[in-house]
């Protein structure tokens, strides 16, 4: 009964989404405020029904209802509760339901926080989001219904893929989906602006906090994914350039470009059509990511079962959504105009080059990800593009971008003077060059790449510190006053930039100084690595809730003193019979110790192959991601977004488009 209710709710949600997608947009075209007014209630109604469907599927999972095909395929009665809950997004059908659920959440958020926007704008934005939802709900009903029954019911479920039985899975996909789906808001704003033909700074201002929020989720999502791969796959790596990872990384790159380009469009009215194109691309890449993962066009460790009918449906959907928006773009964009002029040395030009480099980076990742497909489609054979390509292309693009990152925030809008900038950066440049030369010597190994890594990292950090120092020094008022005089979006930006620096430090340290030992160890054997001594104490059998494990014990000591004991495991899951490696990790600010079990050595007395890694500063990689995300949150919480909405509420009527421009200006240098 419960699954049928869920199914029914999806059908109702589809009808509501259809109304939400058609009538308000029609109303906006005809200036009919009754039709436009339908947008918000429909959004709420759709949310309610999709939420019911979501909880129906959760209930089926939690109560082990194996008469539901999805539950039989992705759960098991022995599966611990939190993973039963997370199994909802462990497979294709459930992931789609989650996707749609998150889309409806974003839609009601937009409905709620858009009270200060003109009615046509709101109607169009919510309408566009409704149309996207129609596509996903149809997809679910016709090719991927999560409520499909399995009769007669299975006695036992097939269990969730053991790779996914991990706390990371409980939060990583929802986080990433919030990001993916969040780009639909920026997309809807861009389409609404194209439809309305009014493309001014206000449009950019409205869509900025939404875009930044989506970017924050994407940042956390990609970061968590990388962290999950690090501790769950047992190979000690943190990024594999896997097609599915790339599918999440491309929207991140483009959204990063978009938040910068929106800033220029808002502040200076420059390169508007570029911004619109980026907004369309960011969402298109999110959709494409979904397509690549779901359709089975590319192979990946993350791939779900393939089904040609699904592939055709998603492709048709992609063509309709992306094709029609690009068509709209081709038709409307020429009328937008180019906006304000700027000098070759100015903040605009710096941000433009940042945009270009991020876009080229996204394009090169795109090419690398799809190249095997192109080659195969042209009948030239089956190939795969590996890590060397991505490193070779990506790193050279990021170097100038990071250098530019230090300059951008201190350059003036419109026209910056070179001597003035030189005065402001010389100390930062001097410090970072000095550190880049000396730090590797202190660490004990000097190579040009390590040095370059440190140069970039400390360049970013020192320019931020110098700029903040300059802004916060001065004579008037106390430090507190001066701290307050800077906006939160300024601090947010600087925090995110420091995050990039921290991230680069992590990457450089790991690449430059990691140590790895892959050895056969008998019981009581010891191995030296990175100044530590690892003693293998043997393996014993353990039983988990739904698996049995061989658990090793490794005692780590330094200078004869025992530091810690580590317990790497090799698990075999009962239902699927799949083996899994659970690495033991001892994290630390200055690096991780990482031990994982390989295979038992046959015909030996309890010997195993054991992998030991020393990963210096590896956690800085994710700390950097965390700082970037927090910076984004700080920027979104900026007063001006709230002041603006409060102020327009008061002035409603005499300020039609919500344009108290003076709130915006004056905050920026």
């Amino acid at each position: 009964m419960i699954p049928e209710i869920g199914n029914f709710c999806i059908i109702i949600a589809l009808l509501l989404a259809f109304v939400q997608g058609v009538l308000p947009i029609l109303g906006a075209a005809r200036s009919n405020s009754v039709l436009m007014g339908i947008a918000r209630p429909m959004a709420v109604g759709q949310f309610v029904f999709v939420a019911i469907a979501f909880f129906c599927l959760e209930r089926s999972l939690l109560t082990n209802d194996f008469s539901v095909l999805y539950v039989a395929e992705h759960s098991n009665s022995e599966l611990p509760g939190q993973y039963k809950f997370a199994a909802l997004w462990g497979g294709h059908e459930g992931s789609l339901l989650l996707w749609t659920f998150i889309l409806t959440i974003w839609t009601i958020m937009v409905a709620q926080f858009s009270k200060h926007l003109p009615q046509e704008m709101v109607a169009r934005v919510i309408g566009v989001m409704g149309l996207i939802s129609v596509g996903f709900l149809l997809f679910m009903l016709f090719t991927s219904n999560p409520f499909e029954r399995l009769l007669p019911a299975a006695v036992e479920g097939r269990d969730l893929n053991p790779l996914l039985q991990d706390p990371g899975l409980v939060i990583h996909p929802p986080m990433l989906y919030f990001g993916y789906v969040g780009t639909s808001v920026a997309f809807a704003f861009a389409i609404a602006a194209l439809l309305g033909g009014r493309m001014d700074a206000t449009w950019a201002r409205w869509s900025r906090p939404w875009t930044t929020m989506a970017w924050v989720f994407l940042t956390f999502g990609v970061g968590l994914g990388s962290w999950w791969a690090y501790y769950e796959l047992g190979w000690g790596g943190w990024w594999f350039w896997d097609p599915v990872e790339n599918a999440s990384f491309m929207p991140w790159l483009v959204t990063t470009a978009l938040i910068h380009s929106l800033a220029v469009t808002e502040k200076r009215g420059a390169y508007k059509s570029w911004t619109v194109l980026l907004a369309i691309s960011a969402f298109s890449l999110s959709l494409l990511g979904t397509f690549l993962v779901r359709s089975g066009v590319l192979t990946s460790v993350h791939s779900f079962a393939t089904d040609p009918a699904r592939g055709i449906f998603i492709l048709a959907f992609l063509v309709i959504v992306i094709g029609s928006s690009l068509l709209l773009f081709a038709w409307r964009a020429p009328k937008i105009g180019l906006g304000g002029k700027f000098n070759i040395i100015s903040r605009e030009s710096m941000l433009l080059s940042n945009n270009l480099m991020l876009s080229v980076a996204a394009a090169s990742v795109f090419l690398g990800t799809l190249y095997p497909l192109f080659v195969d489609a042209l009948g030239l054979g089956k190939i795969s593009v590996g890590v060397p390509y991505f490193n070779a292309v990506f790193v050279p693009l990021m170097v100038p971008m990071v250098l530019m990152m230090g300059l951008g925030p201190i350059a003036r809008w419109k026209q910056a003077s070179v001597p003035d900038m030189w005065v402001r950066i010389r100390w930062a440049l001097g410090c970072s060059v000095l550190i880049a030369i000396l730090l590797p010597l202190v660490m004990g190994k000097w190579t040009p790449m390590i040095s370059l890594g440190f140069l970039l990292a400390f360049w970013v950090i020192t320019t931020v510190v110098m700029d903040m120092g300059k802004r916060l020094s001065g004579r008037e008022g106390g430090l507190g006053v001066r701290l307050k005089s800077q906006s939160r979006s300024y601090y947010g930006m600087q925090l995110a930039h420091i995050g990039v620096g921290v991230f680069i430090i992590g990457v450089t340290m790991v690449k430059g100084y990691e140590a790895e030992r892959d050895v056969r160890m008998d019981v009581e054997d010891t191995v030296q690595a990175g100044g530590y001594e690892f003693r293998f104490d043997g393996v014993r059998q353990q039983t988990g809730p739904n698996y049995s494990a061989s658990q090793g014990r490794v005692t780590v000591s330094k200078d004869g003193k025992v530091i810690t004991q580590m317990f790497p495991e090799k698990r075999v899951y009962n239902a699927s019979g799949m083996p899994m490696t659970e690495a033991a990790i001892k994290p630390g600010l200055s690096g991780d110790l990482y031990v994982s079990l390989g295979e038992p050595i046959p015909n030996s007395n309890g010997a195993w192959s054991v992998r030991i890694y020393i990963k210096p500063f590896v956690d800085w990689i994710w700390a950097g991601c965390l700082l970037m995300g927090l910076g984004g949150i700080l920027a979104v919480s900026d007063r001006r977004y709230r002041v603006l909405s409060r102020k327009t509420k008061v002035e409603a009527g005499d300020s039609p488009a919500g344009e108290p421009a003076l709130v915006m200006e004056g905050k920026t240098p």
Binding site: A330, A333, L370, D376, K382
Partner: protein, 174 residues
Amino acid sequence: MRYILPLVAFLVLSAFLYLGLNLNPHEVPSPLIGKPAPAFSLPQLQQPELQFSAQEMRGKVWLLNVWASWCVSCREEHPILVELARQNIVPVYGLDYKDKAEDGKNWLEQHGDPYVLSAADREGRVGIDYGVYGVPETYVIDKQGIIQYKQIGPVTPQVLNQKILPLVAELNRK
């Protein structure tokens, strides 16, 4: 004009994606195709006291179907195999992969037994030799004991009629 470029680029991309849908990246040419089927000798599922070995099948074209009671997709292909067995075109042998004997037998009782016999690969060792990486899988093996075709995933009527049966007919003629 330049505003149309993104659209054009996207349409080209879509064409490639469309072509990509008809390709199968999982169709990794199995290294075993054209090679002798790995030898094995395993107890039979229904009569564990008897052994079954691949060598017995020399001189016959036969199918080896890897299945398990815990495998949901196996249910999907099972009616097709039952129907195939009824038509008596080609003998189908089963490899009950990583399964408990009781579960396997019950499953065959419930869904019908299309197999001449099933070998019980409880530990999955034979599966490793054959490079099984997902159940179900089906192998077409010729008179000389050479693997001629490998179907990964369920046998669909389409695969059966377009690939497996024509291949079996051709191999029988040789």
